[in-house]
C-alpha cells in the first residue's frame, strides 16, 4: 500500500515537472516511478519514516497553525533585527518533548527550528536542547503548546 502511494506520488511529481502529456512520455514516467520504488524497496527506504503518508490528515490541521506561528515569530525577530539597540537575550533551555515516535520528535524539533527565534541544537528522547534568541521566546516554548499540538498530530493517524 505504502509502495503504491510512493509510486503514485513520484508519477505525479514527474507529470508536474514535465508538463507534456504524450503517451510515450507518460509511459516513461510511470515506468521510472515504478523502477525508483522497486530500487528504493531493495534499499529499504520505503518505510513509515521514508514515506510517512499516514500523517497527511493530521498535517492539514497542524501545518496551518505552524505557518501562523512562523509568521508571528519571524515578525518578532525582524523587529529585533531592525531595532538599533538589538534587544536580544539569548538563552539555552532544555525543553520537554512528549512524542513517542521518531517521526513525532523530528516534527517537533523541526517545528522549533523553523520558527525563527528558536533552534533545536540537540534532539534527544524526551528532552531537546534549544537555543532561543530572547528569554521571552524560550518561555513561550516552555509553556508546551507546540509540544501538545505535535503529540496530537502524531497520535491522530
Amino acid at each position: 500500500m505504502r509502495k503504491v502511494s510512493a509510486a503514485v506520488s513520484l508519477f505525479v511529481f514527474w507529470i508536474l515537472l514535465s508538463g507534456y502529456f504524450t503517451p510515450f512520455l507518460l509511459t516513461a514516467g510511470a515506468v521510472s516511478a515504478i523502477l525508483v520504488v522497486a530500487f528504493a524497496r531493495r534499499l529499504e527506504l520505503v518505510d513509515p519514516e521514508g514515506h510517512p503518508v499516514d500523517f497527511s490528515g493530521s498535517a492539514l490541521v497542524y501545518w496551518p497553525w505552524l505557518f501562523k506561528e512562523i509568521a508571528k515569530s519571524a515578525w518578532d525577530v525582524s523587529k529585533i533585527i531592525v531595532d538599533p539597540k538589538l534587544p536580544i537575550s539569548p538563552v539555552l533551555v532544555r525543553v520537554r518533548s512528549t512524542q513517542a515516535s521518531a517521526v513525532g520528535r523530528v516534527t517537533y524539533a523541526n517545528s522549533i527550528t523553523l520558527t525563527p527565534g528558536t533552534v533545536t541544537i540537540l534532539a534527544g528522547r524526551g528532552e531537546f536542547l534549544v537555543h532561543a534568541l530572547t528569554a521571552e521566546g524560550a518561555a513561550s516554548l516552555a509553556e508546551g503548546d507546540m509540544d501538545r499540538r505535535v503529540t496530537r498530530f502524531e497520535g491522530a493517524r
Binding site: 507534456y20 504524450t22 510515450f24 512520455l25 534499499l43 529499504e44 519514516e49
Partner: protein, 182 residues
C-alpha cells in the same frame, strides 16, 4: 534592462568571491566560498537563458565538486601554506591574460545577434526539424540527448555520480548494523 543590471551585480559579487577565495588561507572556508560562487554563477547563467548550463553548473559546481574538494582536503590537510615567492609576477600575468581575453571578446559577434555564424549553421535545422526527428519536445534536450548523445553520456555519468554521492551522504544506519571501526 533590469536583467542586465542583475547580471552585472551577480558578476561583481562573483569577482568579490574570487578575491576572497585567493586571499583566504583556510581551505575549508575556500570550499564553502566556492559553493557560493557556483550558486551565483548558475544564477547568472540562468538569467542569460542558458538553463541547461545553469543546471550543470549548479550540479557540478555546488554539488559534486564540493564533495570532491572535501575529499581532497581529507588527504592534504586544510591549511594553505604561504607562497614562498612574492605575488607581483603572477598578478601581472593574470592581469595581462585577463585583458587579452577581454580584448578577444570584441572579435565575437554581439550578444544574441541573430546573424552570428553560430545561429546560421545547424541551429535552424535543430529548431525546425528537432521535434520531428527526435520526438523530444525540448530543443536543448533533443540536441543533448539525441544529436550529441555520446557527448552527453559522459555528462550523465557525472550527474549519476552526484546522485550516488547524495545517497551515500544521506544514508541512514539501521538499528543493529555495525559500524566498521577504522
Amino acid at each position: 534592462m533590469i536583467e542586465t543590471g542583475a547580471i552585472a551585480a551577480l558578476l561583481a559579487m562573483m569577482a568579490a568571491v574570487a578575491v576572497a577565495v585567493v586571499r583566504q588561507r583556510n581551505l575549508f572556508a575556500v570550499v564553502v566560498l566556492t559553493t557560493a560562487y557556483s550558486f551565483l554563477m548558475a544564477t547568472a547563467l540562468a538569467a542569460l537563458d542558458a538553463a541547461d548550463v545553469a543546471m550543470t553548473e549548479a550540479a557540478v559546481g555546488a554539488g559534486i565538486s564540493t564533495v570532491l574538494l572535501l575529499g581532497a582536503l581529507h588527504l592534504v590537510g586544510s591549511l594553505e601554506m604561504k607562497p614562498s615567492a612574492g605575488s607581483a609576477v603572477p598578478l601581472a600575468i593574470v592581469v595581462v591574460t585577463g585583458l587579452l581575453v577581454a580584448y578577444g571578446t570584441y572579435g565575437l559577434p554581439a550578444f544574441s545577434d541573430p546573424d552570428a555564424p553560430m545561429h546560421r549553421h545547424v541551429a535552424p535545422r535543430y529548431l525546425q526539424e528537432g521535434p520531428k526527428e527526435t520526438g523530444v519536445p525540448n530543443v536543448v534536450t533533443a540536441v543533448l540527448a539525441s544529436y550529441r548523445g555520446f557527448d552527453t553520456l559522459g555528462e550523465t555519468t557525472v550527474v549519476f555520480t552526484a546522485g550516488i554521492g547524495v545517497i551515500a551522504l544521506l544514508r541512514r544506519r539501521r538499528p543493529g548494523e555495525q559500524e566498521d571501526k577504522p
